[in-house]
């Protein structure tokens, strides 16, 4: 019996393709050749299904954004504020929902006294999307958004950040993330930037750390590559030594590639070696590509303003959003944009939610809205899916002047890339406690995104790596245009 995974790599080494072997590989990928089943059946021609989108901008707000004060405001909370849930008409709400949450930490949860909404809300767009004032800029783009109000997860602590990206509980360790699957399945569209770029600070190690954009068994070549936009060196050591010419270094890198590929004959299946070969090809080109990308000088003042670059509170995230668009423009497949990362995440407002969420939303609201508008006016939104997500919602019940973790229900929205704008899908109960209609586990979001990219999650499997039913998720057909 042949050993499938082996064969392709053997092919590259044996045919003496050398350096060009890799180039051939990425050419195949650029032509829409999809992996996944390739390992079992040889290279497959054509994607699993027609692609509606090419790129993804995956915005992830760390710490748990209140669904109640964003995309799922509940008027009943204002009405019954200060009352115990059991003293309202919704006394039985807690018991009603299916109970999928493994409350590893019962310190979270059990907030019984309802808290009024901490900001106003109104209807936006032709679709009349009900959204909170803290998100007014983004909400103004309501007719581009498909809000899913019925997402749930099973970890009630911030390990849910990792879970949101892998579909697995943090205790289970490292699994491929949605971004890694997308890149693994489709390959790169650019040779001078990584296919999977990460901006912002990832969650702390408690909660997944760099695993939240990792590739696990798919090999480090498919993991997200971080660019740091904060300092003046987005790419550490990104400058050639004084006096070394580009062509000298090109010759050096070419020799590195040749020598590394010679090692590949003895280690044909070493994912680390594959990743290193790729990382050198990228590194050389990134020296010029990255400063060009992150230098926003060519962007007009109007564009910069659109994102809110002129407002100190949101300038930093505006830069990330604008850079995300520039990355996508240059063929980066998957841009993961963290906000408020580090530790358990900035949005984790057990106390002073009013102060926390108003401050943090003012950092991101206009930049995100600007990103959507900019993508739209450039005609890029049709090919680019934008996802807005967080690891869980926040409790309808008060925890002092904050809200607690709430994995039972939260909201995620998608826009662009063949997603039906102006849609609200799924529903929570009257106080936003449980997702009660069209419930979706986090991997359904993955499946939807992968589906739009032309991938069938079920065919993304690697021999010897068991995937569970729940890993695959199901595309949310109702929000696909």
């Amino acid at each position: 019996m042949t050993t499938p995974h082996f064969s392709r790599r053997h092919f590259l080494a044996d045919t003496g393709l050398g350096f060009t072997g890799i180039a051939l590989g990425s050419l195949l990928a650029r032509d829409g050749i999809v992996r996944g089943d390739e390992l079992a059946t040889g290279i497959e021609s054509g994607p699993h299904q027609p692609a509606r989108a090419k790129n993804v901008i995956w915005i992830f707000l760390c710490g748990g954004v209140s669904h109640l004060e964003s995309w799922d405001p509940k008027p009943e909370l204002n009405k019954y504020a200060g009352k115990s849930i059991s003293d309202t008409p919704y006394a039985d709400v807690e018991k009603k929902g299916t109970k999928e949450v493994v409350e590893g930490n019962p310190n979270h949860g059990n907030r019984k006294t309802l808290m009024a909404l901490n900001c106003g809300y109104k209807q936006y767009g032709k679709s009349g999307l009900l959204a909170a004032d803290w998100w007014q800029h983004t909400a103004a783009m309501a007719d581009e958004l498909a809000v899913v109000r019925s997402v749930w997860t099973s970890d009630n602590d911030h390990g849910a950040m990792l879970q949101f990206h892998t579909g697995r509980h943090v205790r289970e360790g490292q699994y491929p993330t949605v971004g890694a699957w997308a890149c693994y399945g489709l390959g790169a569209m650019t040779d001078d930037l990584p296919e999977y770029v990460v901006l912002g600070t990832p969650p702390g190690d408690c909660c997944g750390g760099q695993w939240a954009h990792g590739a696990a068994y798919l090999g480090p070549e498919h993991a997200g590559v971080r660019l740091n936009l904060d300092g003046d060196t987005p790419l550490p050591f990104g400058k050639r030594a004084a006096g070394k010419s580009g062509s000298t270094q090109a010759a050096e890198f070419e020799l590195i590639a040749k020598l590394n590929r010679l090692s590949g004959v003895e280690y044909p299946d070493d994912p680390q070696l594959q990743a290193r070969i790729k990382s050198y090809e990228l590194a050389f080109k990134m020296q010029t590509a990255v400063p060009e990308i992150v230098g926003l000088k060519n962007e007009t003042e109007a564009t910069q303003k659109l994102y809110g670059m002129d407002r100190p509170e949101c300038a930093s995230f505006a830069k990330s959003c604008l850079t995300a668009r520039r990355l996508v423009e240059r063929g980066v497949r998957f841009v993961q944009l963290y906000h408020g990362g580090g530790g358990g995440g900035d949005w984790d407002s057990h106390a002073k939610i009013q102060e926390n969420h108003s401050r943090l939303s003012s950092q991101v609201d206009q930049p995100i809205a600007g990103l959507l508008q900019d993508l739209k006016q450039r005609g890029m939104l049709k090919d680019t899916i934008v996802v807005w997500a967080t690891e869980f919602g926040r409790s309808p019940g008060a925890e002092g002047d904050g809200r607690d973790h709430h994995p039972q229900a939260f909201s995620v929205w998608l826009a662009g890339g063949g997603i039906q704008g102006g849609t609200v899908h799924g529903q929570t109960d009257e106080i936003g406690y449980h997702a009660v209609e069209n419930r979706h586990y986090v991997t359904d979001i993955h499946a939807t995104v992968l589906h739009q990219l032309g991938l069938d999650p079920r065919r993304l499997e690697v021999p010897g790596r068991k995937r569970l039913e729940i890993d695959f998720g199901k595309p949310i057909r109702e929000i696909i245009a």
Binding site: V102, P236, R240, R276, A283
Partner: protein
């Protein structure tokens, strides 16, 4: 086929809420059934039916769930253990749902034994029949009982390999079952490199490799092991490993003086204690005692007091957080238990009660930290000894309800203690009389409890950490969780045997290292073969050594070591992390604190400062750039190239060979030799304009700006395409080039792109400018502060191009320059001749042989092998 792929017991997805769910039950069943617990039945429906759940009641059960529950009563009545595996065994041949197929067969077939509708099909039944034997064998295999004391298992001896190393004997069983053929011993060159890096964190010298390759005696390897274990660098290498586990971090120093935050000033003395102790092979049990209670066992010995730096970690954003982390991490590090879960509630998976947690905390409650003066320095801000002492012997500990410090249960003060389920008692703390005070002896008691031979976890956890760092893969993959929510080892008997061996050797780490590295398993080749790979992709059965990336410290230290520049002096205060590229001490001596870490190291995934039980290895382009562009790599490459040049008598073949042996520890293959030679010779490629020249003085400044220029003469009709200048490393700001007629009229202008790069910069003219023979012009660039410089007489100019250099000029910035100094400032034009060939005023320099050799060394730094243990 992947018969031997290890299915993980899956924790996930119990669809029940806390009051009713028993994920621990499902977990226990998963552990009992091991790889035979299929994902299909890893579901609450295995035991439960959907239905209304009342508070404080169990989720309704199906027939199988009821039967499992009833089994408990039957067993308890007979006084037998009634854990989930016992119960399952009792009812496995029953047929709970009455569909004619036994519980066991249904579960193995991936069907629900409590649901008469769900039945396996014929095909599934056939598969089960085949699996049944393997299942029985699995049940009979060596049990993993991490919470029971270690009993030394017998080494399994097969008749055909009676003399095998015990480690190999343990591994052979799994290899045979999976029909794996272990790889042969690695080549000597590979072996010495692997071993030297593993034991000292540094690569061997070319001479050491050659000596080892020559020594064909049977003791050669054992001698090598002894030499490396005796080298002082061993303590630095393995000290750094244990610094990961014990969460060493330096003081970030934000708050100045004696105020303490995120570790302590002068905590480096603890680091030195670690390195020295490891080098002396201080028994591990003694190390635990000194770290937890050095102030109680040897109160007057400053050398030992250093060990209590362990207690200073993360002191103190708040005392609450400090205590929490101390309790949590002491158990993660020494016991592989996630006791932290029990801070708020009884542990979900392991029998750790919330009161257990606070009893452990009571051990630490009295202690505080202080800085003692050290001889010769009275000011403890400048230097001192960080140490623990019991400041409040009477401090009381209460259970905090839901872990909330605002909500203590003051009705029950707690005595110091430990989780009871581990089976041996906490020794009564004996208070210790000190000079002026008294210490409670609680920490000594905890240390004694940890190192008691009956403690089931201390040795197992330590051995697992050591194994992980030798092989790059752990026996228990969840290195800090040996509990029921962790992952079980595939070779439990091996781990137990090693743990017993460790304890009986007097907790000698060197004994354990020697044992491990002399096994055949450790010495195998790392090259894969298709058959083995198909059976066991993850090398779970150790049929080869997995190639792995070296740690950040090894990357940096190797660069220095190979160049002969590594400063091997040991110990002392932490060195400023920003000096990592210019101070050549070993990496572990540089400041490693929150927000103060050496970038070069963090790019290669250096340890996290708040915890790091296992490094996470990434491979990203930034690492390539650090090895290609950093001043450290450049400087070391130039140094090595000079040495090779001197030793090679300019023979290029010898140079390639020397470079390979020094940097990768092996000879170049024929193909590598060919490629590298071609690179060194450069194929006599024509020199390109952008190769140079490099000014002899590249970064001159007079503290003010200039307009610097070259006057040139056209000797054949030409199109002028672009302007170039050499930008000094310190030069910044905008740069504009101007072309002037000799009478000072500006004719054309070109703006350079803003860049932080130095070296030759080119700006294209918006349109080519045509000039006629004999026209004479000036090209100038504004210089804001720094400029390159050479005497005209010492510079080679291009005399054959369409334009030739006449003289250098300087003047006031942005004005026509009129000054002359007999110097040239590397301001240049790019001209095109009639054949569309481009030329410049300076003679383009091909890289010299020395430069090419430096490049080759740099290339080898960037070889995958350089950062890999093969």
């Amino acid at each position: 086929m992947n018969r031997c792929v290890v299915l993980l017991a899956v924790v996930f997805s119990c669809m029940a809420s806390i009051a009713q769910a028993r994920p621990a039950h499902k977990q226990a069943l998963a552990a009992h059934l091991g790889p035979f617990f299929l994902a299909k039945v890893n579901d609450c429906r295995l035991c439960h039916v959907p239905g209304e759940v009342k508070p404080d009641e169990d989720k309704p059960r199906n027939a199988f769930g009821e039967s499992l529950e009833a089994a408990a009563e039957r067993l308890e009545k007979d006084g037998k253990p009634a854990e989930i595996p016992d119960r399952f065994t009792l009812i496995e041949n029953d047929d709970a749902d009455g569909d004619g197929i036994s519980n066991l067969i249904e579960v193995l077939a991936g069907s629900f034994p409590g649901d008469a509708v769900a039945m396996p099909n014929d095909n599934e039944l056939k598969l089960v029949e085949k699996a049944l034997n393997r299942y029985r064998k699995f049940l009979a295999s060596y049990p993993w009982k991490p919470f029971e004391s270690v009993e030394r298992p017998a080494v399994p001896r097969s008749p055909d390999d009676a003399a095998a190393h015990p480690i190999d004997a343990f591994l052979a069983e799994g290899q045979r079952d999976c029909e794996l053929v272990p790889r042969a011993r690695a080549e000597p060159g590979v072996l010495i490199r692997r071993l030297t890096i593993d034991l000292t964190g540094l690569p061997p010298s070319a001479e050491e490799v050659a000596d080892f390759e020559r020594d064909s005696s049977s003791e050669a390897y054992a001698k090598l092991v002894d030499r490396l274990l005796a080298s002082p660098q061993y303590g630095e290498r393995w000290g750094r490993h244990w610094m990961d586990v014990w969460r060493y971090s330096d003081w970030a120093g934000w708050t100045g003086g004696n105020s303490i935050r995120d570790s302590q000033p002068h905590i480096w003395r603890w680091r030195d204690w670690i390195v020295e102790s490891i080098n002396k092979d201080k028994p591990y049990d003694r190390m635990i005692v000194e770290m937890l209670a050095g102030d109680e066992v040897t109160p007057s010995d400053p050398a030992t007091l250093r060990a209590t730096g362990y207690l200073a970690r993360n002191f103190k954003a708040s005392r609450e957080r400090w205590m929490t982390e101390l309790v949590d991490h002491t158990f993660l590090a020494f016991q592989g238990l996630t006791i932290g879960c029990a801070r708020c509630h009884d542990h979900f998976y392991d029998p750790i009660l919330q009161t257990d947690y606070y009893q452990v905390r009571a051990v630490f409650e009295p202690h505080e930290l202080k800085i003692d003066a050290v001889p010769g320095e009275a000011d403890t801000k400048k230097d001192g000894l960080v140490r623990a002492f019991d400041a409040k012997p009477d401090a009381v500990t209460y259970l905090l309800r839901r872990g909330d410090e605002r909500n203590p249960d003051t009705s029950k003060p707690l005595t110091p203690g430990i989780p009871k389920f581990l089976g041996h008692d906490f020794p009564e703390p004996q208070s210790v009389k000190l000079e002026a005070s008294e210490s409670t002896g609680r920490r000594t008691a905890l240390a004694k409890w940890l190192i008691d031979r009956n403690n089931p976890l201390t040795a197992r956890v330590a051995v697992n950490h050591i194994w992980l760092r030798h092989f790059g893969q752990a026996l228990v993959p969840s290195v800090f969780d040996f509990g029921k929510n962790g992952r079980r080892p595939l070779q439990p008997a091996l781990l137990d045997w090693l743990a017993a061996e460790f304890v009986e050797s007097g907790w000698s780490m060197k004994h354990l290292h020697r044992l491990i590295v002399t096994s055949a398993a450790y010495q195998r080749s790392s090259t894969p073969d298709a058959r083995n790979l198909a059976e066991d992709r993850d090398n779970a059965h150790y049929w080869r050594v997995m190639p792995r990336r070296v740690e950040a410290e090894v990357v940096r230290d190797s660069l220095l070591q190979i160049a002969g520049k590594l400063d091997l002096s040991q110990g002392g205060a932490d060195i400023d992390q920003t000096q990592g590229l210019t101070v050549f001490r070993r990496s572990l001596y540089f400041r490693h604190a929150h927000e103060k870490q050496m970038e070069f190291l963090t790019l290669f995934d250096a340890a996290g400062v708040s915890e790091c039980y296992q490094r996470r290895d990434s491979i990203v382009p930034q690492q390539a750039l650090a090895l290609a562009n950093s001043s450290l790599a450049q400087a070391m490459a130039a140094e090595i190239a000079t040495q090779i040049q001197a030793a090679s008598e300019s023979d290029r073949k010898t140079q390639v060979e020397l470079a390979f042996r020094r940097i990768l520890g092996r000879s170049a293959s024929n193909e590598e030799q060919r490629e590298c030679l071609a690179f060194l010779v450069g194929n006599d490629e024509p020199a390109k304009i952008d190769h140079g020249p490099t000014p002899p003085l590249a970064d001159k400044t007079d503290g003010h700006p200039y307009e610097l220029a070259s006057e040139f003469k056209v000797q054949r009709d030409t199109n002028l395409l672009a302007v170039r200048f050499f930008k000094s490393p310190s030069e910044q700001g905008e740069h504009v080039a101007r072309i002037w007629s000799l009478d000072g009229k500006a004719i054309a202008e070109a703006k350079f792109a803003d860049t932080k790069e130095s070296g030759w910069q080119t700006a294209k003219l918006s349109a080519p400018a045509a000039f006629k023979t004999d026209e004479q012009l000036v090209v100038s660039v504004n210089i804001n502060s720094h400029y390159p410089y050479a005497r005209e007489s010492e510079t080679k100019f291009n005399r054959t191009g369409p334009a030739i250099f006449v003289k250098g000029r300087y003047g006031e910035i942005n004005k026509f320059p009129t000054g002359e100094f007999g110097a040239t400032y590397f301001v240049d034009v790019v001209c095109e001749d009639a054949e569309n060939q481009t030329h410049s005023l300076y003679e383009p320099a091909s890289p010299t042989n020395a430069e090419r050799l430096t490049s080759l060394v740099l290339v080898l730094f960037n070889h995958h092998e350089f950062v890999t243990i093969r």
